[in-house]
């Protein structure tokens, strides 16, 4: 069963975060290459820490393996008929984009930080 990583785990594990990666070769959209458990745990920890909310983050094992955009939406509870409590939401999802920059896998939170994945391998994909 998937479980939520406690917030702050990223820092505890010493994952590196970088906020200025503009130098060097242009970033290319990327996909994770067969992420193992450690890579998925790192991804979950970084996303959880970046969002920094009390609600746990759940990521599918296939996150960022089929497309370079990771959309995180809050699970909306449903009424007894299976209809969302709030069926006219005004908010936006959290968007994370995976880039390959100078050989590194960098996760960019739109409007937030750029975070380097140290446990994962990735490959660039065409724009």
């Amino acid at each position: 069963m998937r479980s939520a990583a406690p917030l702050g785990l990223a820092a505890a594990l010493g994952f590196s975060a970088c906020r200025a990666l503009d130098a060097g070769t242009p970033p290319e959209p990327a996909l994770l290459l067969a992420p193992d458990a450690a890579a998925r745990a790192e991804l979950l920890a970084l996303v959880s820490a970046e969002l920094n909310r009390p609600s746990p983050v759940l990521l599918g094992d296939g996150a960022l393996t089929r497309e370079s955009l990771l959309l995180i939406e809050r699970v909306m509870p449903e009424d007894a008929a299976g209809r969302p409590f709030d069926g006219r939401q005004r908010g936006r999802p959290e968007r994370f984009l995976l880039w390959r920059i100078d050989g590194r896998c960098v996760l960019e939170h739109e409007g937030g930080a750029r975070l380097t994945l140290t446990r994962a391998r990735c490959r660039a994909v065409p724009h």
């Binding site: 983050v57 009424d79 007894a80 209809r83 969302p84 409590f85």
Partner: protein
């Protein structure tokens, strides 16, 4: 009153929540911050103070830091009476129908849940409660609802047609490439047993727990054994389904159908206004444009809503710029105390227009949207067509696009709310409704096809009442609703109304992302 009990009181169906507790009253910590509570407020009928007067005076104040805000809880020692006074004041300030609420002494109810239940309109529209959406959640549970990019399941969305024995559980639709499709489980399959338990008749708690665990698996890799029939009365077969991470496909089918009499009918199955729908809808409309589509059948029978802006984008893509430029898609209206301002955010009320560019949900923000420029659209509906989906219908009608409804009465939820915490309970009380360009938003009983005469009849619009047809796949031109739409296009007449069959019964849609128990014991 707990959420469970409140839903039951609404006459829908009782349910329990597997992972999240609901209900009112009380919070996390119970250590009083002061030695004594202030005297309970006095009550004078019809005289109201601002809600801030009573806010955070709690029978059980929380202590420590609120994880949602990282600041200390504001709670002070109060009482249930104080909390009920806050509910009363908050209702009087912000509830959409505050003037229809019968004032009640806050001291008359021993629990916040009981008192909150009184703080709603008792008015009925067409014999149905005007307010069907009034509930609470524990704040802790509300804040801890997960954020996710996927869900756990078999790739099946279920339709629980009957929750009580004799039960009926059907497959509403499936996601390609999942355990469901690997095992050739298709829409319309009927479940007879799960892990050896009789789904139709077993009424023991142990059996019900087994059934719920099978319907909504909790972990990736879980396996459950189902005995099913693929067609009504067909041969039984056994399948073992394996739970996996499922990424929802909100627009799973797009097709075009050239018609013998001329023109091309486009079909879009649109199941949820989630973020990924934005890019999929753009692709769908581009596909229809490329095929020179002249009519659209929009299948939203299982679409309970989601992001309203995606509804505004799709409505634009259907109607095009000619009739929508500078025109309101939907505007929020609050109670008459706030004619120009959103009282919760403080912002000036500004209508949402038909959106001609993508908003950046899953497509690149600012991209010009394609458009079909249609003057009419067929929508396939059931009682599970709700909120943002109904906003598409209402918004298009507001700019004189003819909406032809084929199916059952929609759910009737032109309303919204801003959840509000007080003392560890989060309250949901209707605060605004959405109106279209011609100021219409009164469809609390939904939209009904013109020939619908049984069950709940909402605002009637052109079209035919046609039952959901589980014997055919969605997007199959022989499927009952789709077939009726195609027939109506050639000759605007209807088969005998069947949109609610039997009257009053709706299918309870069980999607994989929320883990809930839906099977109930017979009362």
């Amino acid at each position: 009153m707990t959420f469970t009990a409140r839903i039951a009181a609404l006459g829908i169906v009782a349910m329990t929540l597997a992972l999240i507790g609901c209900g009112g009253g009380g919070g996390g910590g119970s250590t009083p911050l002061g030695p004594t509570a202030p005297a309970d407020p006095s009550w004078t009928s019809g005289v109201f103070s601002p809600p801030a007067t009573f806010q955070a005076y709690c029978a059980n104040p929380r202590s420590g830091t609120d994880p949602a805000t990282n600041v200390a809880y504001p709670d002070k020692l109060g009482s249930i009476d104080w909390e009920n006074n806050w509910i009363r004041a908050w209702t009087n300030s912000y509830y959409l129908w505050y003037s229809e609420v019968v004032d009640a002494n806050p001291a008359s109810s021993g629990t916040t849940d009981a008192y909150f239940t009184l703080m709603k309109t008792t008015a009925k529209v067409g014999g149905v409660d005007k307010d069907k959406f009034h509930f609470t959640y524990t704040t802790t549970a509300w804040e801890k609802l997960s954020q996710s990019n996927s869900s756990i399941g078999y790739g099946i969305t279920w339709a629980l047609v009957s929750t009580m024995p004799p039960r009926k559980l059907l497959v509403a639709y499936t996601v390609a490439g999942t355990s469901a499709t690997t095992n050739n489980v298709m829409r319309g399959a009927s479940v007879l047993t799960i892990d050896g338990v009789d789904l139709v008749n077993d009424n023991t708690q142990t059996g019900i727990n087994t059934l719920n665990a099978g319907i909504a698996p909790a972990a990736v890799g879980e396996q459950h054994t189902f005995v099913i029939t693929d067609t009504p009365g067909g041969a039984q077969r056994t399948v073992t389904l394996t739970a996996a991470d499922i990424t929802e496909d909100p627009v799973p089918k797009v097709a075009t159908f050239p018609q013998a009499g001329g023109g091309v009918v486009g079909y879009i199955e649109f199941n949820a206004h989630v973020a990924t729908a934005e890019s999929e809808l753009i692709a769908a409309v581009n596909q229809l444009i490329a095929a020179n589509t002249t009519d659209l059948v929009l299948d939203i029978r299982y679409n309970g809503g989601g992001y309203l802006d995606i509804a505004a984008e799709l409505a634009y893509m259907i109607a095009g710029p000619g009739v929508t430029t500078g025109v309101t898609f939907e505007k929020e209206t609050f109670n008459d105390k706030y004619p120009t301002t959103n009282p919760i955010t403080g912002a000036t009320l500004t209508p949402t227009g038909f959106l001609s560019t993508s908003q950046g949900f899953s497509a690149t923000a600012g991209t010009a949207l394609p458009h079909l420029d249609l003057t009419r659209v067929f929508v396939l509906t059931t009682a599970n067509t709700c909120s943002a989906s109904e906003a598409i219908i209402n918004g298009l009608r507001g700019v004189n696009v003819q909406v032809i409804e084929i199916g059952g009465t929609t759910c009737g939820k032109p309303y919204g709310f801003y959840p509000q915490d007080n003392c560890g309970t989060t309250y949901f009380s209707i605060q605004f409704k959405g109106e279209n360009a011609v100021n219409f938003g009164d469809y609390s009983n939904g939209f009904s096809a013109l020939n619908q005469t049984t069950g709940t009849v909402g605002v009637t619009i052109p079209g035919c009442s046609v039952a959901d047809d589980y014997t055919h796949q969605l997007g199959d031109t022989a499927e009952g609703q789709f077939a009726a739409a195609l027939a109506y296009r050639n000759n605007p007449s209807c088969p005998a109304a069947s949109g609610i069959s039997p009257p009053g019964v709706i299918a309870h849609i069980v999607r994989p992302q929320v883990l809930m128990n839906r099977i109930m014991r017979r009362p």
